[in-house]
């Protein structure tokens, strides 16, 4: 494993997502020899900024949807974000140089099982969709000439068709069991999703050696894991 010691003292801020992705990220952080202080592991702690074993490194823990915003506006220099989040925000100031291969799932359109057999998507001119991803949804449908009216929800998307808010949803699907449990079926695939290491564009341009060293640090960690 090659760890670039030269860069260790230079200040850098890493934004990490809370929750599911963080669990999957742990082995990669270990392989990269990034060890956050103990309080980081405490999900109940009020602390939001953490030190680590590397002198220049500060870690901030934010909601997975917010990592991209922190990195885009320079609040953090690097971060870990899902491709779903990057597609939704599509910010020109964010680079996504490394696929971490974790948090794998897919973004898909689903509708009630009973509706699927008779539904002909080629006849749609307007659809109402419940989703956490209004931008992705509008783009996806607009690309084939369909106008999507989005109902922005932050969770429990599967309830929307069941309770009559709309017929269709756009959401992340991993095993599909939540869909099935709510009588929904996946009818269209939008994108394969995984988590990526993201970098602030200005940081990469103005401190290129440091940021490349950090990208390489994660890349080496992935290689070490694969080996």
């Amino acid at each position: 494993m090659s760890v670039i010691r030269l860069a260790d003292a230079e200040p850098i801020r890493l934004a990490l997502p809370k929750g599911r992705i963080l669990k999957e990220l742990k082995p990669i952080l270990e392989a990269a020899d990034i060890r956050p202080e103990a309080a980081f592991e405490d999900g109940e702690a009020r602390q939001l900024r953490f030190k680590a074993n590397i002198p220049g490194l500060e870690i901030v823990r934010v909601r997975s949807f917010d990592v991209a915003s922190f990195v885009a506006f320079g609040g953090a220099d690097i971060g870990v974000a899902g491709r779903d989040v990057l597609m939704e925000f599509d910010d020109p100031e964010v680079y996504a140089p490394l696929d971490l291969g974790i948090g794998k799932c897919r973004l898909a359109v689903a509708e009630p099982e009973a509706m699927a057999p008779t539904d002909d998507p080629s006849r749609w001119s307007h659809v109402r969709v419940a989703t956490k991803y209004p931008n992705v949804t509008k783009r996806h449908f607009a690309a084939r000439g369909v106008q999507a009216e989005c109902i922005k929800l932050n969770g429990a998307m599967e309830l929307a068709p069941v309770l009559g808010l709309c017929s269709r949803i756009v959401d992340l699907v991993s095993t599909g069991s939540t869909l099935r449990a709510n009588g929904l079926v996946e009818i269209e695939h939008i994108a394969d999703i995984s988590s990526l290491l993201i970098v602030n564009r200005t940081q990469l341009k103005t401190r290129p050696r440091l940021l490349k060293a950090w990208i390489d640090r994660f890349r080496s960690a992935l290689d070490a894991q694969a080996a």
């Binding site: 885009a72 910010d91 020109p92 100031e93 490394l98 200005t202 103005t206 401190r207 050696r209």
Partner: protein, 387 residues
């Protein structure tokens, strides 16, 4: 219908208040002084033009970003300028067709953008820029990059970093390969340095090369070394060699200027054909300016129909935010009834004189109320203690 609050402005627009308005104006003047010192002459195109002329030639890629309105007088569509470079190019090709080349022109003015580059971004941008029209030489490219860096330094921006790009390079690598309509998505993936998406979208034959090109980006010397090891088409190789020539000229004059190369970036360079660049300052997110080589429409009857040009634009709001702020000039209260000579004494000392329009009982209190750091007392300035 509820009326909007009188202070509410449309999205992306803001009032610039004291002291920032004066700082911004001063920054613009300093940039113009740098341009003028190297022979760039000030040009003032109008805010509105006929849509067809603004959006033809170099302006064509700006169509989506340009506000239009109908001119009740001529019944024709007008475009509110969204960039000043196409206006300068138009002037060079028409009214200044007979001026000797190379033609050096500069400008300072506001432009309007329909969307801004991201949600919530400024839609009115003050641009200060310079265009060098009629020379295709590397010396011209180098002069423009150096001029941009000098102007930023004059405004007070420190630790400037220039990112050099070859917007047409990725296109050359992909030329001749069957993209199956994936090109727009692929170009977007390249722009985001998105390795995995590039791998997924690129034709097999090009994927490895594109990845190497993304990876080669970074500080100039390492970037050229990395690029030399990549198997590239001849046309791409020539573009990189040309860039190397420009870099050598820049480094000879400004060895301390940080230069990086990004071989795959092409966003924002809609009309650029040769080497392009973006300006950054360490610690300030976002671009401070952008420039590069393009083809300007040539004067009528000229063959070929376009002439080589290179130029840049500084985004004055962003540059102003990145700049070190000069110490403000002290305001001194000049009580009612003081003489002209008293005012001159304040001005001679390098301060600002704020005149009282009526007698007041407590001069010091009145001066402080008006934000003055001191007041004129018979024959001298009394500065107040802080707090």
């Amino acid at each position: 219908m509820t009326h909007p609050h009188p202070a509410l402005l449309p999205t992306g627009l803001a009032d610039v208040l004291p002291p920032f308005a004066a700082l911004e104006a001063a920054a613009g003047e300093r940039a113009l002084a740098v341009f003028a010192a190297q022979g760039y002459e000030r040009t003032m195109p109008p805010m509105l033009e006929f849509e067809e002329s603004f959006l033809s030639g170099a302006g064509e890629p700006l169509a989506r970003e340009t506000f239009r309105m109908m001119d009740p007088a001529s019944q024709r569509m007008l475009a509110l300028r969204s960039d000043m470079t196409p206006q300068i190019a138009r002037i060079a090709a028409t009214r200044l067709a007979n001026s000797p080349r190379p033609l050096r022109l500069c400008y300072l003015g506001a432009v309007m953008r329909v969307s801004g580059e991201r949600a919530g971004a400024e839609r009115q941008v003050r641009q200060a820029g310079a265009e060098l029209i009629g020379s295709g030489r590397a010396e011209a490219d180098a002069e423009i990059v150096l001029l941009a860096a000098k102007a930023l330094a004059a405004i007070g921006v420190e630790r400037v970093s220039v990112d050099l790009n070859v917007p047409r390079l990725a296109g050359e690598v992909l030329a001749g390969l069957d993209l199956n309509g994936a090109s727009a998505a692929l170009m977007a993936a390249l722009d985001r340095k998105d390795f995995s998406e590039t791998r997924r979208l690129a034709p097999k034959a090009a994927a490895r090369t594109l990845e190497q090109l993304i990876d080669a980006g970074g500080p100039v010397d390492a970037a050229f070394a990395a690029a030399a090891a990549i198997d590239l088409p001849e046309a791409a190789r020539e573009r990189i060699a040309r860039l190397a020539g420009i870099v050598a000229l820049i480094q000879a004059e400004a060895p301390d200027l940080q230069l990086t190369i990004d071989f795959v970036e092409h966003r924002g360079f809609a009309y650029h054909t040769g080497v392009a660049f973006s300006l950054f300052a360490e610690g300030h997110t976002g671009e401070l300016g952008r420039g590069g080589r393009y083809r300007a429409p040539a004067p009528d009857g000229h063959d070929p129909a376009s002439e080589p040009a290179v130029g840049f634009t500084l985004f004055m709001e962003a540059a102003g935010r990145a700049a070190r702020r000069p110490a403000p000039t002290a305001r001194v209260y000049l009580p009612h009834g003081a003489s002209v000579r008293d005012r001159e004494a304040i001005l001679e000392a390098g301060h600002v004189a704020v005149a009282g329009l009526e007698p007041v009982a407590d001069t010091a209190a009145e001066a402080k109320r008006l934000g003055c750091a001191g007041a004129w007392r018979v024959d001298h300035i009394e500065f107040f203690q802080e707090g």
